[in-house]
């Protein structure tokens, strides 16, 4: 479980000597990942949206952000369900499916000690 403080999502591996550096990178790259997700949504590039959700589902838990991985998994499943039940993709439905993931990505943080290091 992620430690939730101030609604932030924190990695359980932040102080792991093998993982600390890459957890920091994961968090530092998050604004770019959020930008990519927003850009893909705006461009209606649903394949790219799906890819980002799929990659976060597979990797976030490994970086200690289990809750983010779970949310990405739900997003991916919802997107698959939307695309399998309709011959065209309802943009509003896609946005609704991706919004919780965008919100979770925005709450990914480093603890104060790590951020200051």
């Amino acid at each position: 479980m992620d430690g939730s403080r101030d609604q932030g999502l924190y990695s359980v591996y932040e102080n792991d000597p093998d993982m600390g550096d890459i957890v920091v990178l994961f968090v530092q790259e998050m604004p770019e990942r959020i930008g990519d997700l927003r850009d893909a949504l705006e461009a209606m590039d649903y394949e790219a949206v799906q890819t980002i959700a799929h990659q976060l589902k597979g990797a976030a838990g490994g970086y200690g952000f289990e809750q983010l991985g779970d949310i990405a998994a739900v997003t991916e499943r919802t997107l698959q369900s939307i695309s399998s039940t309709s011959s065209y993709l309802d943009h509003g439905a896609v946005v609704a499916a991706v919004t919780p993931l965008l919100s979770a990505c925005g709450r990914v943080r480093l603890s104060i000690q790590q951020a200051a290091a």
Binding site: D18, M19, D21, I22, L25, F26, T51, H54, Q55, L56, K57, G58, A59, A60, G61, G62, Y63, E66, G69, E76
Partner: protein, 142 residues
């Protein structure tokens, strides 16, 4: 060990484990998590890059993602299965695709094992060691 101590002890070559995944997040994670394993971890970000590496290097085990743009993991498995030079390389599929039909197809195409993401580190290590053991044994027999 030699008595005069002058002869350096040859360090055994570490077996090459190739990680094939289009996500840099996965490469970075495995590099950190498998740091202590006695393997030479290499990385490919596409199916075609993986095949090129496998056909020109002595690879002991492959950790293969399935869902990649361009040549996907299934095509990699198919290609390796068709080449007589590579049937002894154990391939562990490491995929976010959890459907039974994907697993059945991967095993049908020659995968030795299938791990779903997110993966448990201890389990991945155990399965990788098992694959390396099998590779070593097959090598000794052939």
């Amino acid at each position: 060990m030699s008595e005069d101590g002058a002869q350096p002890i040859a360090t055994p070559k570490r077996p090459i484990v190739l990680v094939v995944d289009d996500s840099p997040l996965v490469h970075r994670l495995l590099k950190a998590r498998l740091r202590d394993e006695p393997v030479d971890l290499r990385h490919a970000t596409s199916g075609s890059e993986a095949l090129e590496f496998i056909y020109s290097n002595d690879v002991a085990t492959v950790l293969l993602d399935l869902g990649m743009p361009g040549m996907d993991g299934f095509e990699v498995l198919r290609d390796l299965g068709e080449k007589e030079a590579t049937p002894h390389i154990p391939i562990i599929v490491l995929s976010g695709q959890q459907e039974s039909q994907d697993k059945v197809m991967a095993f049908g195409l020659g995968a030795m094992d299938y791990i779903t993401k997110p993966f448990d580190l201890a389990e991945l290590r155990a399965r990788m060691r098992s694959a390396l053991r099998i590779h070593r044994l097959v090598r000794m027999l052939s």
